[in-house]
């Protein structure tokens, strides 16, 4: 039983450069070994324009912890959603005790004993602990009413089985973060769980709470549950896992026992990729200093951020999700206030207090969530584009529509925006074109610095190339670009220089030969670089 995973360790001899397709066995029938409680066999999941999972394998064994490892976008969350019945796979099968099953709904998955503790667990503030644990499947009396006494008794049992001393009768809002987490775990265990999925369970916890969580994991293991553990933190992966599985770009890369692999080999498996991706990076003339950020700090999100940005430069910001990159950028353009710090723009030192001041100063931010934060879908294209530039298209306080159209045309033509008319509402455009409207809007303000937050997240390969090409053009014209990205190839391919953030601080500033996938991941995850951080 314990050796069952051996058969899927083909990737151990790992030369990253020559990889051209899934390394794992193709055409050898179901790979799922006997003994795996739950296995994914050649699962495929596609979304419009994106293949999220391409024939991936995963096995979970009773009484063992399997860590699923991969960069952002590797497909980890998609796997969780397939295992919990939120997504349906487009190909391949899910095997429970070796038998093919399907989880058409979340209820079906939990009914089969697969339960998940999510990154952000949804709990109900105004309900009691017991009600939170049993919501949706509360024990009933013979009249069909909720059996409160029974529910509390069983909630108490579950909580004490995980070593939590919480009164099932108190309301959730009276509990602290750590206790809430235990309630969330209790909820996951309130169904007859055989498989427990923990998706970044330690992200919001303090060190002490993390230790308690590790103990809990041991308890669950001892109870014979199969655990899928998803984390970016290598120390905890090595501490609590029995097995690992690595995904990259939606493909299975390898799996094995954790005590048979080194940290650096694991990093290589995560980041190694084929070298056929070509980035249209031009050698730009990097000019004088345009922006200098000094000691930017925030009470909770980031601390002591210092860097300079030069004309014509593309500065990459890499880090794990939650490293504080977007939070810092939002502070830089005045959406949130820094507790300390200043910016130097060309010659004068200032603090940017509002987005309007940032635009005035020539710094614009294209947010990650373009649907929510970028375009105003009910307004026509031209009104979206001119929104931050109305001063320019107005005469004595009155907007001149002819000038609005002229300004809009100038940038939409350049971006090759396809629309029947500039009068069309943005909501009726395709996603790619909506994005072009947002970028046109910011270019029309003639910025000096443009911050692009995850500029290619969720768009197809073709559009990605167009965005990269365009970014390169902007830099060549003397615009300074800050690119926040979690995609290593993009960071490596496009940046002149990269700042790596970890837990709200700058962990490293890398350029030239220091800029490799391994150094990025090491600094971002904090592997073996303690004390050396800038």
């Amino acid at each position: 039983m314990r050796d069952a995973g051996r058969r899927v360790t083909a990737a151990r001899s790992y030369p990253p450069q020559i990889k051209t397709g899934p390394i794992m066995g193709t055409g050898q029938g179901p790979v799922a070994a006997q003994g795996a409680v739950l296995a994914l066999d050649r699962i495929i999941k596609t979304f419009p324009g994106v293949t999220a999972l391409d024939q991936v394998q995963l096995e979970l064994h009773a009484g063992e912890v399997t860590s699923l490892i991969g960069e952002n976008g590797a497909g980890k969350s998609t796997v969780v959603k397939i295992l919990t019945g939120i997504y349906q796979p487009d190909g391949g099968q899910i095997l429970l005790d070796g038998q093919p099953v399907s989880f058409p709904t979340a209820q079906a998955a939990s009914g089969a004993g697969v339960t998940a503790i999510h990154q952000e667990t949804v709990l109900f503030e105004e309900l009691t602990v017991a009600e939170n644990i049993f919501i949706g499947h509360a024990p009933r009396t013979r009249f069909g009413l909720i059996d409160t006494a029974e529910m509390r008794r069983r909630a108490g049992q579950i909580l004490s089985s995980i070593g939590a001393e919480i009164d099932p009768g108190v309301k959730l809002k009276d509990l602290g973060i750590a206790s809430r987490h235990l309630v969330a775990i209790g909820r996951a265990l309130s169904v007859e769980a055989r498989v427990v999925i923990m998706d970044e369970p330690t992200a919001a916890l303090s060190q002490k709470e993390i230790e308690e969580l590790y103990e809990l994991v041991e308890t669950l293991k001892a109870q014979g549950k199969a655990i899928l553990f998803i984390s970016h933190k290598f120390d905890e992966i090595f501490r609590i896992s029995d097995r690992y599985t690595v995904f990259r770009d939606g493909q299975f890369v390898g799996a094995g026992r954790i005590d048979e692999i080194s940290e650096s080999d694991l990093v290589k498996m995560m980041v190694g990729r084929s070298v056929d991706q070509i980035f249209p990076k031009r050698e730009a003339q990097v000019g004088e200093e345009v922006l200098k950020v000094v000691g930017y700090s925030h009470p909770t999100e980031f601390e002591d951020i210092n860097f300079t940005l030069r004309r014509g430069e593309i500065l990459g910001f890499y880090g794990l999700v939650g490293a504080g990159r977007s939070e810092f950028m939002q502070s830089l353009i005045g959406i949130t206030k820094p507790s300390k710090g200043a910016v130097k723009l060309e010659d004068h030192v200032t603090i940017i207090r509002s987005p309007a001041e940032a635009i005035e100063a020539g710094i614009v931010y294209v947010p990650e969530d373009r649907g929510k934060q970028g375009a105003i879908l009910d307004l026509p294209i031209f009104q979206n584009v001119t929104l931050p530039s109305l001063g320019e298209t107005s005469n004595r306080g009155f907007i001149r529509m002819a000038e609005e159209f002229a300004l809009t045309r100038q940038y939409t033509e350049r971006l090759d925006l396809r629309a029947a008319s500039l009068d069309t509402t943005v909501g009726s455009l395709s996603g790619g074109n909506q994005q072009k409207v947002v970028i046109a809007k910011w270019l029309a303000t003639r910025p000096k610095v443009i911050i692009l937050d995850e500029p290619t997240k969720g768009i197809d390969i073709g559009s990605k190339a167009a965005v990269h090409e365009f970014m390169s053009e902007l830099a060549a014209e003397g615009l300074s670009v800050i690119m926040v990205s979690s995609e290593i190839p993009e960071i490596l391919g496009m940046s002149d220089r990269v700042i790596v953030m970890r837990e709200g601080r700058i962990a490293a500033e890398l350029e030239g030969e220091d800029l490799t996938p391994e150094t990025l991941v090491r600094h971002a995850a904090g592997i073996g670089v303690k004390g050396e951080a800038a």
Partner: protein, 325 residues
């Protein structure tokens, strides 16, 4: 979008159809003279609805407009009693200023204290009514106490339409100019359409909402003077419940209650639709209680219609983004 397919065109067609139906029962209703008087009668509703439109565009609601109207109207009437010779122009200026100040109270509470607009204006609605009672001691101010030029001004007829009607037209044109051609007007659409995006674009959402309440208040103040002068009476309960009719006019006029969508023309037509229904039902001998049912049905039809047209274009941008990680 061409005019023929627009919401406004459909509403206009509905109004024409409604007038046609009424004409079959009571042909005199559609004489120019009668239509002009129906229009004049509807002017206060239209003015209030134009103010309400701006507020709803920014994702707020102003339930205090009718109470603002009554309070400002009462103050105008009391000033008139105290100083009968005050020029009407000055009275109108006072009404606009006072209405704007009352609106500013709503706006500040929404902006600075971030209290939900429905709660703020429900509160101020009641407070304004209470203040009228305190000011007037519950007494009425009747026609004979008001000066002739105070009550006569809105009722003067120029080119077949009352001054009140002309003022309504002027307000509509000014609002159209404001909404279409100024940065402020544009910001109301942007803030209501997507507050997050508006913030990134350098707009101050709270400030835009504040200014919307000020505009709504100023127009309510103006309507206050016109109403009191037109009906030549002021008392605590004047225009009681009228705020709901105002919101109804906006909704029928295609203003999305979710914010960000609407037009001046639509609002004007929405108000006219309600005005015609209200004036026509008595003459075609239908009980006024039916009026409520017809208004209600019109609201439901309008909302259903708006929801349907909104759904077809409300596409999710970058749907795949959420799957990317």
């Amino acid at each position: 979008m061409s005019f023929v397919k627009s919401r406004e065109a459909i509403l206009l067609a509905a109004i024409v159809l409604l007038l046609g139906l009424i004409a079959t029962r009571f042909p005199a209703f559609i004489t120019p003279h009668n239509l002009a008087s129906v229009y004049s009668d509807t002017t206060p509703l239209m003015i209030l609805a134009l103010g309400q439109m701006v507020v709803i565009l920014t994702r707020c609601i102003d339930l205090s407009v009718a109470a603002n109207l009554a309070l400002t109207g009462m103050v105008c009437a009391m000033i008139n009693v105290a100083a009968p010779d005050l020029p009407v122009g000055l009275t109108i200026l006072i009404a606009l200023t006072m209405g704007a100040a009352l609106g500013a109270i709503n706006g500040l509470l929404v902006w600075k204290l971030a209290i939900p607009p429905i709660v703020v204006t429900l509160g101020t609605m009641t407070i304004f009514r209470g203040v009228i009672f305190l000011l007037s001691d519950g007494q009425w101010i009747n026609a004979h106490e008001m000066s002739a030029n105070f009550t006569g001004f809105p009722r003067q007829v120029i080119l077949g339409v009352t001054v009140m009607g002309w003022i309504g037209l002027a307000v509509a044109l000014l609002m159209a100019l404001l909404m279409a051609r100024t940065a402020l007007g544009r910001s109301f659409f942007a803030v209501g359409g997507n507050p997050h995006a508006a913030v990134y674009t350098g707009l101050n959402v709270g400030r835009a909402q504040f200014l919307a309440f000020v505009i709504s208040g100023a127009l309510a103040g103006l309507a206050g003077y016109l109403w009191i002068a037109r009906y030549a009476v002021a008392y605590v309960d004047i225009a009681g419940g009228f705020e709901l009719e105002v919101v109804a006019a906006c909704v029928i006029g295609g203003i999305s209650i979710a914010g960000g969508v609407g037009s001046v023309l639509g609002t004007v037509l929405g108000a006219m639709f309600l005005g015609i229904v209200k004036n026509a039902l008595p003459v075609v001998d239908i009980s006024p209680f039916w009026q409520l049912a017809i208004s209600g049905a019109a609201i439901l039809i309008a909302v259903t219609f708006n929801a349907r047209s909104g759904r077809s274009k409300g596409r999710v941008i970058l749907k795949s983004a959420e799957h990317a990680q």
